[in-house]
């Protein structure tokens, strides 16, 4: 940013006083009042003659933590040094705290006079949050001795705070029965080997002896084979709703995107822990896709994408969203036998449309919806009613719904949802 100089109009009142004193002195023949007017004129003249000082400062910013976890307090120290040859009599500095972070303690502001070569320090704490947060330019305003003129400028000093949280721990996530041909832990409707009883049928040559129902053989003489529900691996794709409409916040200004990322992270973690392949997609103006996979490297990849991908940034994307392109792109990449865990706050009907279309296209959809609505105003109450109605509509087309109030733990919401599914 180029420097801008403006007048503060601080001494305009002095002119009024000078004229008043002069008029009074002339009117009442009071030399003292006239002299007072001369003093006022002197101030006004000096104020007119003043010029904004050049801002030649050196800035150095340091963070006391390189890899903080979300919620950690990170101390920021900004050292401001007058690198010029003239004193800065009135220097105001405000550090460019990233727009996505809160100051937890202290103040990022500094107001001081700074002789040449001298330094001043501003120190404050910020609360770390998921993602990569670049500091904004430092804003500086410097005034002359009388404070008449002010020079405003910005100085950029590159600093980034990067916070990559671990994938959220979750004991298990109840996947649907759609599965791949690989062995795994998802109970399917297919009869075969497994643990959970499925059916009995007439014995066929080659059936394992262990699965013959010997009690029945003893009782009736008929050879029957017990089939169990086959357990296979599932392929899950966590699709995060990252459209601008999903960038809404709850009463605590916590973003639905952040809740969604936390939930998606937990789902991915639980699925990987049970040897199911997991992929990730961002459904929004910025595209992000990670094909389903397994293993430690894949886990790291998912973790970094969830933390650092611009598609999942907590700020509203400025790009225009193209619904048709986004949906087609998603469908082209989704494996045919994949399950979809669609994570959306569901504050508009289009999110429901996407979930419903995926379900009708043959993907087993679980809709995981963090609730950021409340009833504090009529508008918000209406938003809550509409969201509830969309959840009901999703259930009506056999989409599994997890209605998650972020005030409670995700496992509690999952348990509640599982009970409903079993009914």
């Amino acid at each position: 940013m180029s420097d801008t100089v403006h007048r503060t109009e601080r001494w305009v009142g002095v002119s009024a006083l000078a004229f008043g004193a002069a008029a009074f002195g002339a009117g009442f023949r009071l030399p003292a009042a006239f002299l007072l007017a001369v003093v006022g004129v002197g101030y006004a003249t000096a104020a007119r003659a003043g010029s904004a000082p050049d801002v030649e400062v050196a800035l150095e910013r340091t963070l006391d933590e390189d890899a903080p976890e979300p919620g950690d307090s990170v101390t920021v120290t900004l050292e401001v040094t007058n690198a010029g040859e003239r004193t800065l009599p009135d220097l105001r500095v405000v550090d460019g705290v990233p727009r996505t972070l809160d100051v937890a303690d202290g103040s990022p502001r500094l107001g001081t006079a700074l002789p040449p070569g001298e330094s001043a320090t501003v120190e404050y704490d910020i609360e770390a949050r998921r993602g990569e947060h670049a500091f904004e330019p430092v804003r500086i305003a410097a005034r002359d001795w009388l404070g008449t003129t002010e020079r405003e400028t910005e100085r950029l000093t590159h600093t980034e705070l990067t916070c990559v949280p671990e994938l959220e721990a979750l004991a298990s996530f109840p996947l649907r029965s759609q599965a791949t041909d690989y062995a795994g832990r998802v109970t399917t409707d297919t009869a075969g080997s497994g643990v959970e009883f499925h059916s009995t049928r007439q014995y066929r040559r080659g059936d394992p002896i262990a699965r013959i129902d010997w009690a029945r053989v003893a009782k009736t003489g008929d050879m029957t084979t017990v089939d169990f529900r086959e357990e296979r691996a599932a392929e899950t794709v966590v699709v995060l709703d990252t459209r601008a409409d999903a960038h809404v916040a709850d009463a605590d200004n916590e973003s639905a995107i952040d809740y969604g990322v936390a939930a998606g992270s937990a789902v991915a973690s639980a699925s990987l822990d049970t040897s199911n392949r997991v992929g990730l997609a961002a459904f929004g103006p910025r595209w992000e896709w990670i094909s389903p996979g397994l293993g430690r490297t894949h886990r790291v990849r998912l973790r970094e994408a969830l933390a650092l991908s611009p598609a999942m940034a907590p700020t509203r994307p400025p790009e225009q969203f193209r619904p048709l392109v986004a949906f087609r792109r998603l469908r082209e990449r989704l494996p045919a036998d994949a399950q979809v865990v669609f994570v959306s706050p569901l504050v508009d009907s289009y999110a429901l449309t996407v979930a419903r279309r995926l379900e009708t296209r043959g993907y087993a959809v679980t809709l995981l919806s963090p609730d950021v609505t409340d009833t504090s105003t009529p508008g918000r109450a209406l938003a809550r009613l509409e969201r509830r109605r969309r959840l009901t509509a999703a259930r009506a087309v056999n989409i599994r719904v997890v209605d998650w109030d972020p005030g409670t733990a995700l496992p509690v919401a999952l348990e509640r949802a599982s009970r409903r599914w079993r009914q």
């Binding site: 002119s15 004229f19 009117g27 193209r322 449309t353 950021v372 609505t373 105003t377 509509a393």
Partner: protein
């Protein structure tokens, strides 16, 4: 640079007074004979005038100062439903009973939600719920009922029986009625009956169905503010 008329006038006055003073020294006979008191008083009045102008300038002076904003708090995101609150606030002008286009849009948006909530809370069919909404029997709150039943807002004036009430109380606005209706629906939605019947109804309404194309591709244009459908060619 813009010419400051105040300064120009002040400079002109200074030059004139100086010229007069020099002229009186150089050739006193050229200067009309005026009393000292007249000169001093006149000068005092002129200075007082300039003083008044300076006071006025000080009063009007805004003075530019650097706006640093509030970097201490992260940028806040919108909350769901804010646009409805904004619309209701904008609709506050006058307690007119006339139904405006924004009213119609709000009624169309609220009606399916209301039918859903009332049918669950009162355990009745959607058709019955619609009837209850139309005749106002779904609630004891006359203001909430009036929003759907179309009862004239003027009839809901609190003090219409008194002289002052009849003169000054013009009744609730349409926005007031909408607020009451939403809050009443919200209250009904929290009742145990509505909770228990949570999944009984809930078929998506026609408007939502209409936002899906027949080929199964979602058409978000109707739902997404600021987004436009794209031509097929752009997807290839």
């Amino acid at each position: 640079m813009a010419v400051n008329p105040f300064r120009t006038a002040l400079a002109a006055l200074g030059v004139a007074v100086l010229a007069l003073a020099l002229a009186s020294l150089a050739a006193p006979s050229l200067i009309p004979t005026v009393s000292e008191a007249f000169v001093v008083t006149g000068l005092g009045l002129v200075l007082a005038l300039f003083g008044a102008v300076a006071v006025r300038r000080r009063y009007l002076a805004s003075g530019e100062r650097t706006a640093f904003g509030t970097p201490e708090s992260r940028r806040s995101l919108p909350r769901p439903g804010t646009e409805v609150d904004r619309e209701l606030a904008a609709n506050r002008v006058g307690p007119e009973t006339r139904v405006t286009p924004p009213d119609v849009a709000l009624i169309e948006r609220l009606k399916p939600v209301a039918v859903d909530v009332v049918s669950r809370a009162l355990n009745c069919a959607p058709a019955t719920a619609t009837e209850k909404l139309d005749d106002g029997s779904w609630t004891d709150d006359p203001h909430a009922a009036a929003f759907f039943s179309g009862q004239r807002a003027a009839e809901l004036r609190a003090g219409q029986d008194s002289f002052f009430g009849a003169v000054f109380d013009r009744g609730p606005t349409r926005a007031d009625l909408a607020r009451r209706a939403i809050l009443e629906l919200s209250r009904l939605d929290e009742t145990p009956a509505a909770e228990a019947n949570g999944d009984v109804s809930g078929a998506p309404d026609d408007a939502e169905r209409a936002s899906e194309n027949s080929d199964g591709t979602p058409d978000g244009a109707a739902d997404e503010p600021g987004t436009k459908p794209e031509p097929e060619a752009s997807e290839q």
